[in-house]
């Protein structure tokens, strides 16, 4: 489904991703963990080219993302993304946020679009908030709307960039629950997270990154119980 080959990313002289290669299977849920500055968010953002790649290859499905010939807008409709800061559009209602991309990219009819949007809102448990503006919602609610918005284009991959890091502790659970449900539906998910509980419970595979490298990857059991690398042990020792 997703192949990453020798991915490098430099910001000026600062090499953030040094040599990343991995493969993600269809329907796989992958959690990326690691200390801050380890490059995990940059890695995620390279997958849909929110960051320009310095060198290396990213292939999603049949499309080589990193090829200059790729229509990146079209690729992105297939890759949903959820941000730490939610980034809902504040001038639009919840429903309009979800309907925006399908309306202007897929040219979906208003009836179909609204039906789909309401269905997605139901899925994240916010049907009653359809006419609210983002500002009127709690952080957890905003993030659930952001997930619904990303799902509206029917992506085959969902990227989550620390989706619960900006939330008050009591709201983390509701967002993780929505993500768990998604995982069970079989959508391919890559989640950059500090929620070790979520990684342990939901992930098919956990990737530990440090210093721009993938240090260790494996099933949650491998990584959390049978940790091989010292650096991983040190990190887990601090966060668990």
């Amino acid at each position: 489904m997703i192949t990453v080959e020798n991915l490098r990313k430099q910001f000026g002289a600062n090499e953030v991703l040094k040599d990343i290669s991995t493969t993600i299977r269809e329907q796989e849920v992958v959690c990326v963990i690691g200390p801050s500055g380890s490059g995990k968010s940059t890695f995620l953002r390279c997958l849909n080219l929110l960051e320009e790649v310095t060198s290396g290859k990213v292939i999603i499905g049949e499309v080589e993302v990193t090829s200059p010939k790729t229509n990146i807008d079209e690729l992105r409709t297939n890759v949903g993304m959820v941000f730490q800061q939610f980034n809902l559009f504040p001038h639009l209602t919840v429903l309009e946020n979800i309907m925006l991309a399908p309306k202007h990219i897929r040219k979906l009819s208003k009836t179909d679009n609204e039906k789909k949007a309401l269905e997605l809102l139901g899925k994240v448990g916010l049907s009653q908030k359809k006419d609210a503006y983002p500002e009127q919602l709690s952080g957890g609610q905003q993030q659930r709307v952001a997930i619904a918005r990303a799902l509206a284009m029917n992506p085959s991959v969902m990227l989550f960039d620390e989706p619960t890091s900006a939330l008050d502790p009591e709201m983390v659970g509701e967002v993780l629950q929505v993500m768990k449900n998604l995982a069970h539906e079989g959508i391919t998910m890559i989640v950059v997270t500090h929620e070790m509980g979520f990684a342990r419970e939901v992930a098919d595979r956990v990737i530990f990154m440090d210093g721009g490298y993938i240090v260790e990857e494996g099933t949650p059991e491998d990584l959390f119980q049978n940790t091989r690398h010292e650096r991983t042990k040190a990190f887990l020792g601090k966060v668990l």
């Binding site: 992105r76 980034n87 559009f89 001038h91």
Partner: protein, 218 residues
């Protein structure tokens, strides 16, 4: 000698005519200026260096020279160069449009730049093109923030049109000039002309407060 009130009363028809001309110039010029300003503002936030350079040259030249010089240049200077006559009204509207357009360009640029990177990224990650992101996500938010600054610029432009009296356009100030030169009642006439501008501008700023409240982002 007529009483002050009689003088003002007699002057009203001509002053009202002048007011209509002023409003006509303002409305037409500001419509052009908004279009010019939007295009130039978008150019100055573009990734293309050439577009940015053109926009910044335009803004620098207009902001770096007095409006009166611009008016004279377009009305007296350009016809010599182009070997064609430009009617005063046309020249006046061109000058005011270009002038206000440069300032409005900067308002658009600042407004666009005030919208955070996260909004761009969220829109682009949904698959919206750069243009659609600007048009559907960034500009609607930016424009709301810009309303008070726009109104400020509109007010300045309304007052700037008085400079067009220098090329003989019978707008409000020129009407006052004509009346005073006939009746020498400077106190009454310039006082009344001032009140006319004041009324236009106060009405505009009241209207803008209403619009601001109406379109506030909740």
């Amino acid at each position: 000698m007529d009483s002050s009130w009689q003088v003002i009363l007699d002057a009203l028809p001509l002053l009202l005519e002048g007011t209509v001309v002023t409003l006509k110039i303002v409305v037409i010029s500001l419509m052009f200026a908004m279009v010019i300003g939007l295009i130039s503002g978008l150019m100055s936030t573009s990734l293309n260096r050439l577009l940015r350079l053109v926009a910044s040259l335009y803004v620098d030249i207009i902001r770096g020279t007095p409006l009166l010089v611009q008016v004279y240049f377009i009305y007296f200077g350009l016809p010599v160069f182009l070997d064609m006559r430009i009617p005063a009204m046309t020249a006046g509207i061109i000058a005011v449009s270009l002038n206000a357009g440069a300032y409005i360009s900067e308002i658009f640029r600042a407004g666009i730049e005030s919208i955070g990177k996260g909004q761009h990224e969220a829109a682009r990650s949904l698959g919206l093109s750069r243009f659609k992101t600007m048009w559907l996500v960034v500009l609607p938010q930016a424009t709301r923030r810009m309303i008070p600054t726009f109104v400020n610029q509109f007010i300045i432009t309304i007052k700037d049109t008085s400079l067009l009296s220098a090329i003989g356009i019978a707008e409000l100030t020129q009407s006052g000039e004509i009346i005073v030169s006939a009746n020498f009642r400077a106190f009454e006439i310039w006082g009344t002309v001032g009140v006319f501008y004041l009324i236009i501008i106060v009405l505009l700023s009241r209207a803008s407060r209403f619009i601001e409240r109406r379109y506030a982002i909740r």
